[in-house]
Symmetry: C2
Subunit: 188 residues, 2 copies
Amino acid sequence: MSPEAPARRPGGRSARVRAAVHLAVTELAAQTDPAQLTIPAVAERAGVNPTTVYRRWGTLQALLADLATQQEADAPATSSGDLRIDLEDYAIRTLADLTRPGGIAFFRAEVSPDVGERRDGLRECLRRCTAGLDVVLEASRARGEAPPPLECLLDRIVAPLYFRVVFSVPGTDGTYARALVTDLCGAP
Amino acid sequence: MSPEAPARRPGGRSARVRAAVHLAVTELAAQTDPAQLTIPAVAERAGVNPTTVYRRWGTLQALLADLATQQEADAPATSSGDLRIDLEDYAIRTLADLTRPGGIAFFRAEVSPDVGERRDGLRECLRRCTAGLDVVLEASRARGEAPPPLECLLDRIVAPLYFRVVFSVPGTDGTYARALVTDLCGAP
DNA sequence: GACTTAAAGCAAGATGCTTTGCTTTAGTCG
DNA sequence: CGACTAAAGCAAAGCATCTTGCTTTAAGTC
Protein backbone atom coordinates (compact mmCIF):
# COMPACT_ATOMS: atom_id res chain seq x y z
CA MET A 1 0.00 0.00 0.00
CA SER A 2 2.46 2.69 1.10
CA PRO A 3 4.94 2.97 -1.76
CA GLU A 4 8.63 2.37 -1.31
CA ALA A 5 8.49 1.89 2.43
CA PRO A 6 12.14 0.79 2.69
CA ALA A 7 13.44 3.30 0.13
CA ARG A 8 16.49 1.23 -0.42
CA ARG A 9 18.12 3.44 -2.99
CA PRO A 10 16.65 6.90 -2.62
CA GLY A 11 19.45 9.03 -4.00
CA GLY A 12 19.88 10.39 -7.49
CA ARG A 13 17.76 8.96 -10.24
CA SER A 14 14.94 7.53 -8.14
CA ALA A 15 14.36 10.85 -6.43
CA ARG A 16 14.52 12.60 -9.79
CA VAL A 17 11.91 10.29 -11.28
CA ARG A 18 9.70 10.67 -8.26
CA ALA A 19 9.86 14.45 -8.45
CA ALA A 20 9.20 14.48 -12.18
CA VAL A 21 6.20 12.19 -11.79
CA HIS A 22 4.78 14.22 -8.91
CA LEU A 23 5.12 17.39 -10.92
CA ALA A 24 3.49 15.79 -13.94
CA VAL A 25 0.53 14.64 -11.85
CA THR A 26 0.03 18.10 -10.42
CA GLU A 27 0.18 19.76 -13.81
CA LEU A 28 -2.07 17.22 -15.50
CA ALA A 29 -4.63 17.32 -12.70
CA ALA A 30 -4.79 21.08 -13.06
CA GLN A 31 -4.92 21.24 -16.83
CA THR A 32 -6.94 18.35 -18.18
CA ASP A 33 -10.09 16.41 -17.58
CA PRO A 34 -9.90 13.91 -14.76
CA ALA A 35 -10.42 11.15 -17.31
CA GLN A 36 -7.14 12.18 -18.98
CA LEU A 37 -5.26 11.74 -15.74
CA THR A 38 -3.92 8.28 -16.48
CA ILE A 39 -0.63 6.60 -15.71
CA PRO A 40 0.51 6.62 -19.36
CA ALA A 41 -0.28 10.34 -19.63
CA VAL A 42 1.56 11.13 -16.42
CA ALA A 43 4.54 9.06 -17.50
CA GLU A 44 4.76 10.74 -20.87
CA ARG A 45 4.59 14.20 -19.37
CA ALA A 46 7.22 13.29 -16.80
CA GLY A 47 9.50 11.89 -19.50
CA VAL A 48 9.44 8.54 -17.75
CA ASN A 49 8.59 5.08 -18.95
CA PRO A 50 5.04 4.00 -18.01
CA THR A 51 6.41 0.70 -16.79
CA THR A 52 8.38 2.54 -14.15
CA VAL A 53 5.26 4.20 -12.80
CA TYR A 54 3.35 0.92 -12.82
CA ARG A 55 6.10 -0.87 -10.98
CA ARG A 56 6.75 1.83 -8.39
CA TRP A 57 3.19 2.90 -7.60
CA GLY A 58 0.98 0.30 -9.21
CA THR A 59 -2.19 2.38 -9.37
CA LEU A 60 -3.11 5.99 -9.88
CA GLN A 61 -4.64 6.14 -6.43
CA ALA A 62 -1.45 5.00 -4.77
CA LEU A 63 0.43 7.64 -6.72
CA LEU A 64 -2.00 10.37 -5.66
CA ALA A 65 -1.82 9.20 -2.06
CA ASP A 66 1.96 9.37 -2.21
CA LEU A 67 1.74 12.90 -3.54
CA ALA A 68 -0.71 14.00 -0.87
CA THR A 69 1.44 12.51 1.85
CA GLN A 70 4.44 14.47 0.68
CA GLN A 71 2.45 17.69 0.42
CA GLU A 72 1.24 17.15 3.97
CA ALA A 73 4.82 16.63 5.12
CA ASP A 74 5.92 19.79 3.32
CA ALA A 75 3.28 22.00 4.97
CA PRO A 76 2.39 20.71 8.44
CA ALA A 77 -0.57 22.24 10.26
CA THR A 78 0.00 24.85 12.96
CA SER A 79 -2.06 26.57 15.63
CA SER A 80 -2.43 30.31 16.18
CA GLY A 81 -3.52 30.04 19.81
CA ASP A 82 -7.18 30.85 19.11
CA LEU A 83 -9.60 28.08 18.26
CA ARG A 84 -11.92 30.23 16.21
CA ILE A 85 -9.12 31.61 14.06
CA ASP A 86 -7.63 28.15 13.68
CA LEU A 87 -10.94 26.74 12.48
CA GLU A 88 -11.46 29.57 10.03
CA ASP A 89 -7.97 29.07 8.67
CA TYR A 90 -8.61 25.38 8.38
CA ALA A 91 -11.92 25.87 6.59
CA ILE A 92 -10.49 28.38 4.16
CA ARG A 93 -7.43 26.27 3.48
CA THR A 94 -9.55 23.18 2.91
CA LEU A 95 -11.82 25.05 0.54
CA ALA A 96 -8.82 26.40 -1.34
CA ASP A 97 -7.34 22.90 -1.60
CA LEU A 98 -10.59 21.54 -2.98
CA THR A 99 -11.39 24.30 -5.43
CA ARG A 100 -7.98 24.84 -6.96
CA PRO A 101 -7.66 23.27 -10.42
CA GLY A 102 -7.40 19.54 -9.98
CA GLY A 103 -7.88 19.82 -6.25
CA ILE A 104 -10.87 17.56 -6.26
CA ALA A 105 -9.08 15.03 -8.43
CA PHE A 106 -7.53 13.38 -5.40
CA PHE A 107 -10.86 12.95 -3.73
CA ARG A 108 -12.39 11.71 -6.95
CA ALA A 109 -9.64 9.20 -7.55
CA GLU A 110 -10.19 7.72 -4.11
CA VAL A 111 -13.95 7.57 -4.39
CA SER A 112 -14.05 5.68 -7.67
CA PRO A 113 -12.10 2.44 -7.42
CA ASP A 114 -12.66 -0.97 -5.92
CA VAL A 115 -14.10 -1.32 -2.47
CA GLY A 116 -11.10 -3.21 -1.18
CA GLU A 117 -8.63 -0.57 -2.23
CA ARG A 118 -11.08 2.22 -1.56
CA ARG A 119 -11.42 1.44 2.11
CA ASP A 120 -7.76 2.09 2.71
CA GLY A 121 -7.56 4.99 0.29
CA LEU A 122 -10.50 6.75 1.88
CA ARG A 123 -9.27 6.06 5.38
CA GLU A 124 -6.04 7.74 4.37
CA CYS A 125 -7.95 10.59 2.72
CA LEU A 126 -10.03 11.09 5.86
CA ARG A 127 -6.93 10.96 8.01
CA ARG A 128 -5.42 13.75 5.95
CA CYS A 129 -8.67 15.72 6.29
CA THR A 130 -8.62 15.41 10.04
CA ALA A 131 -4.90 15.76 10.62
CA GLY A 132 -5.15 19.54 10.54
CA LEU A 133 -8.22 19.49 12.77
CA ASP A 134 -6.50 17.24 15.28
CA VAL A 135 -3.66 19.70 15.67
CA VAL A 136 -6.09 22.56 16.18
CA LEU A 137 -8.20 20.62 18.70
CA GLU A 138 -5.18 19.38 20.61
CA ALA A 139 -3.86 22.92 20.91
CA SER A 140 -7.24 24.05 22.19
CA ARG A 141 -7.39 21.32 24.80
CA ALA A 142 -3.84 22.10 25.84
CA ARG A 143 -5.09 25.61 26.68
CA GLY A 144 -7.66 24.09 29.00
CA GLU A 145 -10.61 24.75 26.68
CA ALA A 146 -13.38 22.29 25.81
CA PRO A 147 -13.58 22.42 22.00
CA PRO A 148 -16.33 20.65 20.03
CA PRO A 149 -15.63 16.98 19.31
CA LEU A 150 -13.91 16.11 16.07
CA GLU A 151 -17.05 14.47 14.70
CA CYS A 152 -18.98 17.67 15.11
CA LEU A 153 -16.36 19.60 13.15
CA LEU A 154 -16.47 16.99 10.40
CA ASP A 155 -20.25 17.34 10.17
CA ARG A 156 -20.45 21.11 10.41
CA ILE A 157 -17.35 22.26 8.52
CA VAL A 158 -15.64 19.59 6.44
CA ALA A 159 -18.73 17.77 5.14
CA PRO A 160 -20.50 20.90 3.84
CA LEU A 161 -17.32 22.06 2.12
CA TYR A 162 -16.81 18.75 0.36
CA PHE A 163 -20.46 18.44 -0.54
CA ARG A 164 -20.72 21.90 -2.04
CA VAL A 165 -17.47 21.64 -3.96
CA VAL A 166 -18.33 18.24 -5.38
CA PHE A 167 -21.77 19.41 -6.45
CA SER A 168 -20.56 22.85 -7.57
CA VAL A 169 -23.07 24.68 -5.38
CA PRO A 170 -22.77 28.41 -6.18
CA GLY A 171 -21.57 30.82 -3.53
CA THR A 172 -19.11 28.40 -1.96
CA ASP A 173 -16.36 30.88 -1.16
CA GLY A 174 -14.24 32.14 1.73
CA THR A 175 -17.13 34.08 3.21
CA TYR A 176 -19.23 30.93 3.26
CA ALA A 177 -16.38 28.95 4.83
CA ARG A 178 -16.07 31.53 7.59
CA ALA A 179 -19.83 31.50 8.11
CA LEU A 180 -19.68 27.77 8.78
CA VAL A 181 -17.33 28.44 11.69
CA THR A 182 -19.46 31.34 12.92
CA ASP A 183 -22.60 29.18 12.89
CA LEU A 184 -20.78 26.66 15.02
CA CYS A 185 -18.88 28.87 17.45
CA GLY A 186 -21.07 31.98 17.54
CA ALA A 187 -20.08 35.48 16.45
CA PRO A 188 -16.52 36.57 17.31
CA MET B 1 -28.30 13.70 -22.36
CA SER B 2 -31.69 12.37 -21.29
CA PRO B 3 -32.02 9.00 -22.97
CA GLU B 4 -34.83 8.21 -25.35
CA ALA B 5 -36.66 11.49 -24.88
CA PRO B 6 -39.12 10.82 -27.74
CA ALA B 7 -39.53 7.10 -26.95
CA ARG B 8 -40.77 6.48 -30.43
CA ARG B 9 -41.32 2.78 -30.05
CA PRO B 10 -41.70 2.03 -26.35
CA GLY B 11 -43.75 -1.15 -26.45
CA GLY B 12 -42.62 -4.73 -26.30
CA ARG B 13 -38.98 -5.44 -26.89
CA SER B 14 -37.57 -2.03 -26.06
CA ALA B 15 -39.32 -1.99 -22.71
CA ARG B 16 -38.18 -5.53 -22.07
CA VAL B 17 -34.57 -4.66 -22.81
CA ARG B 18 -34.77 -1.57 -20.67
CA ALA B 19 -36.17 -3.52 -17.74
CA ALA B 20 -33.58 -6.26 -18.10
CA VAL B 21 -30.74 -3.74 -18.21
CA HIS B 22 -32.06 -1.82 -15.21
CA LEU B 23 -32.33 -5.02 -13.22
CA ALA B 24 -28.84 -6.07 -14.24
CA VAL B 25 -27.42 -2.72 -13.11
CA THR B 26 -29.13 -2.97 -9.74
CA GLU B 27 -27.92 -6.50 -9.15
CA LEU B 28 -24.39 -5.83 -10.30
CA ALA B 29 -24.11 -2.64 -8.25
CA ALA B 30 -25.18 -4.59 -5.19
CA GLN B 31 -23.01 -7.64 -5.73
CA THR B 32 -19.69 -6.64 -7.22
CA ASP B 33 -16.99 -4.07 -6.95
CA PRO B 34 -17.83 -0.74 -8.51
CA ALA B 35 -14.99 -1.26 -10.96
CA GLN B 36 -16.83 -4.33 -12.29
CA LEU B 37 -19.89 -2.26 -13.04
CA THR B 38 -19.18 -1.77 -16.73
CA ILE B 39 -21.44 -1.69 -19.75
CA PRO B 40 -20.23 -5.04 -21.09
CA ALA B 41 -20.82 -6.66 -17.70
CA VAL B 42 -24.30 -5.17 -17.43
CA ALA B 43 -25.15 -6.24 -20.98
CA GLU B 44 -24.00 -9.80 -20.41
CA ARG B 45 -26.00 -10.12 -17.21
CA ALA B 46 -29.06 -8.66 -18.89
CA GLY B 47 -28.70 -11.06 -21.82
CA VAL B 48 -28.44 -8.09 -24.16
CA ASN B 49 -25.87 -7.13 -26.73
CA PRO B 50 -23.39 -4.54 -25.45
CA THR B 51 -23.86 -2.55 -28.63
CA THR B 52 -27.49 -2.03 -27.71
CA VAL B 53 -26.56 -0.52 -24.39
CA TYR B 54 -23.91 1.69 -25.95
CA ARG B 55 -26.32 2.96 -28.56
CA ARG B 56 -29.24 3.55 -26.21
CA TRP B 57 -27.48 5.05 -23.23
CA GLY B 58 -23.99 5.81 -24.45
CA THR B 59 -22.31 5.95 -21.03
CA LEU B 60 -22.67 4.22 -17.72
CA GLN B 61 -23.54 7.52 -16.06
CA ALA B 62 -26.42 8.12 -18.43
CA LEU B 63 -27.67 4.63 -17.71
CA LEU B 64 -27.47 5.17 -13.96
CA ALA B 65 -29.21 8.51 -14.29
CA ASP B 66 -31.98 6.87 -16.27
CA LEU B 67 -32.37 4.28 -13.55
CA ALA B 68 -32.45 6.88 -10.79
CA THR B 69 -35.03 8.91 -12.64
CA GLN B 70 -37.32 5.93 -12.93
CA GLN B 71 -36.88 5.02 -9.26
CA GLU B 72 -37.76 8.59 -8.35
CA ALA B 73 -40.89 8.40 -10.50
CA ASP B 74 -41.84 5.10 -8.88
CA ALA B 75 -41.60 6.45 -5.33
CA PRO B 76 -42.41 10.17 -5.20
CA ALA B 77 -41.80 12.08 -1.97
CA THR B 78 -44.68 12.89 0.38
CA SER B 79 -45.26 15.04 3.44
CA SER B 80 -46.68 13.93 6.80
CA GLY B 81 -47.78 17.39 7.90
CA ASP B 82 -44.98 17.85 10.44
CA LEU B 83 -41.67 19.33 9.36
CA ARG B 84 -39.59 17.58 11.97
CA ILE B 85 -41.00 14.16 11.10
CA ASP B 86 -40.62 14.86 7.40
CA LEU B 87 -36.98 15.78 7.85
CA GLU B 88 -36.27 12.72 9.94
CA ASP B 89 -37.93 10.54 7.34
CA TYR B 90 -35.94 12.23 4.64
CA ALA B 91 -32.66 11.80 6.51
CA ILE B 92 -33.31 8.14 7.25
CA ARG B 93 -34.44 7.42 3.71
CA THR B 94 -31.40 9.17 2.27
CA LEU B 95 -29.09 7.25 4.56
CA ALA B 96 -30.79 3.99 3.61
CA ASP B 97 -30.44 4.82 -0.08
CA LEU B 98 -26.76 5.54 0.32
CA THR B 99 -25.82 2.62 2.52
CA ARG B 100 -27.69 -0.15 0.76
CA PRO B 101 -25.40 -2.32 -1.37
CA GLY B 102 -24.44 -0.37 -4.44
CA GLY B 103 -26.32 2.69 -3.22
CA ILE B 104 -23.25 4.87 -3.38
CA ALA B 105 -22.42 3.59 -6.86
CA PHE B 106 -24.63 6.20 -8.44
CA PHE B 107 -22.93 9.01 -6.62
CA ARG B 108 -19.55 7.54 -7.39
CA ALA B 109 -20.31 7.17 -11.07
CA GLU B 110 -21.26 10.81 -11.29
CA VAL B 111 -18.25 12.06 -9.39
CA SER B 112 -15.65 10.31 -11.51
CA PRO B 113 -16.01 11.25 -15.15
CA ASP B 114 -15.15 14.23 -17.31
CA VAL B 115 -15.88 17.70 -16.10
CA GLY B 116 -18.13 18.48 -19.03
CA GLU B 117 -20.38 15.50 -18.48
CA ARG B 118 -19.98 15.71 -14.74
CA ARG B 119 -21.51 19.14 -14.48
CA ASP B 120 -24.83 17.93 -15.83
CA GLY B 121 -24.68 14.59 -14.08
CA LEU B 122 -24.02 16.17 -10.71
CA ARG B 123 -26.62 18.84 -11.26
CA GLU B 124 -29.10 16.05 -11.87
CA CYS B 125 -27.82 14.14 -8.85
CA LEU B 126 -28.19 17.22 -6.67
CA ARG B 127 -31.65 17.83 -8.06
CA ARG B 128 -32.65 14.35 -7.03
CA CYS B 129 -31.14 14.95 -3.58
CA THR B 130 -33.15 18.11 -3.12
CA ALA B 131 -36.38 16.99 -4.76
CA GLY B 132 -37.54 15.32 -1.56
CA LEU B 133 -36.49 18.30 0.52
CA ASP B 134 -38.32 20.69 -1.74
CA VAL B 135 -41.56 18.81 -1.23
CA VAL B 136 -41.09 18.86 2.53
CA LEU B 137 -40.22 22.55 2.61
CA GLU B 138 -43.07 23.52 0.34
CA ALA B 139 -45.53 21.65 2.54
CA SER B 140 -44.15 23.44 5.58
CA ARG B 141 -44.48 26.85 3.96
CA ALA B 142 -48.00 26.01 2.87
CA ARG B 143 -48.83 25.54 6.57
CA GLY B 144 -47.63 29.08 7.22
CA GLU B 145 -44.39 28.03 8.90
CA ALA B 146 -40.93 29.48 8.25
CA PRO B 147 -38.72 26.43 7.70
CA PRO B 148 -34.93 26.67 7.40
CA PRO B 149 -33.69 27.51 3.91
CA LEU B 150 -32.83 24.66 1.61
CA GLU B 151 -29.12 25.45 1.73
CA CYS B 152 -29.12 25.07 5.49
CA LEU B 153 -30.68 21.62 5.20
CA LEU B 154 -28.11 20.64 2.61
CA ASP B 155 -25.29 21.70 4.93
CA ARG B 156 -26.68 20.25 8.12
CA ILE B 157 -28.36 17.04 6.96
CA VAL B 158 -27.49 15.94 3.45
CA ALA B 159 -23.81 16.86 3.41
CA PRO B 160 -22.92 15.04 6.67
CA LEU B 161 -24.76 11.94 5.50
CA TYR B 162 -22.95 11.85 2.19
CA PHE B 163 -19.62 12.62 3.78
CA ARG B 164 -19.88 9.92 6.40
CA VAL B 165 -21.14 7.29 4.01
CA VAL B 166 -18.44 8.02 1.45
CA PHE B 167 -15.73 7.88 4.09
CA SER B 168 -17.28 4.96 5.98
CA VAL B 169 -17.30 6.83 9.27
CA PRO B 170 -18.47 4.38 11.96
CA GLY B 171 -21.73 4.97 13.78
CA THR B 172 -23.52 6.42 10.78
CA ASP B 173 -26.95 4.92 11.42
CA GLY B 174 -30.59 5.89 11.86
CA THR B 175 -29.97 7.29 15.33
CA TYR B 176 -27.28 9.52 13.95
CA ALA B 177 -29.52 10.64 11.10
CA ARG B 178 -32.23 11.59 13.57
CA ALA B 179 -29.71 13.41 15.72
CA LEU B 180 -28.81 15.60 12.76
CA VAL B 181 -32.41 16.78 12.59
CA THR B 182 -32.58 17.24 16.36
CA ASP B 183 -29.42 19.36 16.34
CA LEU B 184 -31.01 21.55 13.74
CA CYS B 185 -34.61 21.81 14.97
CA GLY B 186 -34.16 21.29 18.71
CA ALA B 187 -35.58 18.44 20.78
CA PRO B 188 -39.10 17.30 19.90
C1' DG C 1 -51.99 -9.50 -43.09
C1' DA C 2 -48.28 -6.83 -45.42
C1' DC C 3 -45.36 -2.74 -45.26
C1' DT C 4 -42.15 0.44 -42.90
C1' DT C 5 -38.67 1.37 -40.02
C1' DA C 6 -36.91 1.84 -35.20
C1' DA C 7 -34.29 -0.80 -32.48
C1' DA C 8 -31.52 -5.04 -31.38
C1' DG C 9 -27.94 -8.32 -32.80
C1' DC C 10 -23.59 -9.57 -34.84
C1' DA C 11 -18.71 -9.35 -36.08
C1' DA C 12 -14.63 -7.18 -36.96
C1' DG C 13 -11.57 -3.82 -35.59
C1' DA C 14 -9.66 0.41 -33.21
C1' DT C 15 -8.04 2.30 -29.09
C1' DG C 16 -5.76 2.67 -24.79
C1' DC C 17 -4.54 0.71 -20.30
C1' DT C 18 -1.79 -2.83 -18.18
C1' DT C 19 1.44 -6.70 -17.76
C1' DT C 20 5.73 -9.26 -18.48
C1' DG C 21 10.44 -10.80 -19.75
C1' DC C 22 14.52 -9.01 -20.71
C1' DT C 23 18.21 -5.42 -21.19
C1' DT C 24 20.47 -1.30 -19.74
C1' DT C 25 21.64 2.32 -16.57
C1' DA C 26 23.52 4.13 -12.51
C1' DG C 27 23.50 4.40 -7.24
C1' DT C 28 25.93 2.02 -3.40
C1' DC C 29 29.52 -0.39 -1.11
C1' DG C 30 33.89 -2.75 -0.45
C1' DC D 1 38.06 1.93 -9.07
C1' DG D 2 35.30 -2.17 -9.76
C1' DA D 3 31.64 -5.41 -8.49
C1' DC D 4 26.87 -5.71 -7.20
C1' DT D 5 22.18 -4.91 -7.79
C1' DA D 6 18.04 -1.90 -7.36
C1' DA D 7 15.61 0.64 -10.36
C1' DA D 8 14.56 2.47 -15.07
C1' DG D 9 13.93 1.54 -19.97
C1' DC D 10 12.29 -1.07 -23.87
C1' DA D 11 9.34 -3.97 -26.66
C1' DA D 12 5.89 -7.03 -27.37
C1' DA D 13 1.81 -9.06 -26.12
C1' DG D 14 -2.63 -9.29 -23.41
C1' DC D 15 -6.93 -7.61 -22.35
C1' DA D 16 -11.16 -4.91 -21.90
C1' DT D 17 -13.71 -1.18 -23.40
C1' DC D 18 -15.75 1.04 -27.06
C1' DT D 19 -16.86 1.97 -32.09
C1' DT D 20 -18.74 1.02 -36.66
C1' DG D 21 -20.97 -1.00 -40.75
C1' DC D 22 -24.11 -4.16 -41.77
C1' DT D 23 -27.89 -7.61 -41.01
C1' DT D 24 -31.90 -9.22 -38.65
C1' DT D 25 -35.89 -8.83 -35.75
C1' DA D 26 -40.25 -7.16 -34.44
C1' DA D 27 -43.21 -3.00 -33.04
C1' DG D 28 -46.31 0.17 -35.09
C1' DT D 29 -49.41 1.48 -39.06
C1' DC D 30 -52.54 1.13 -42.86
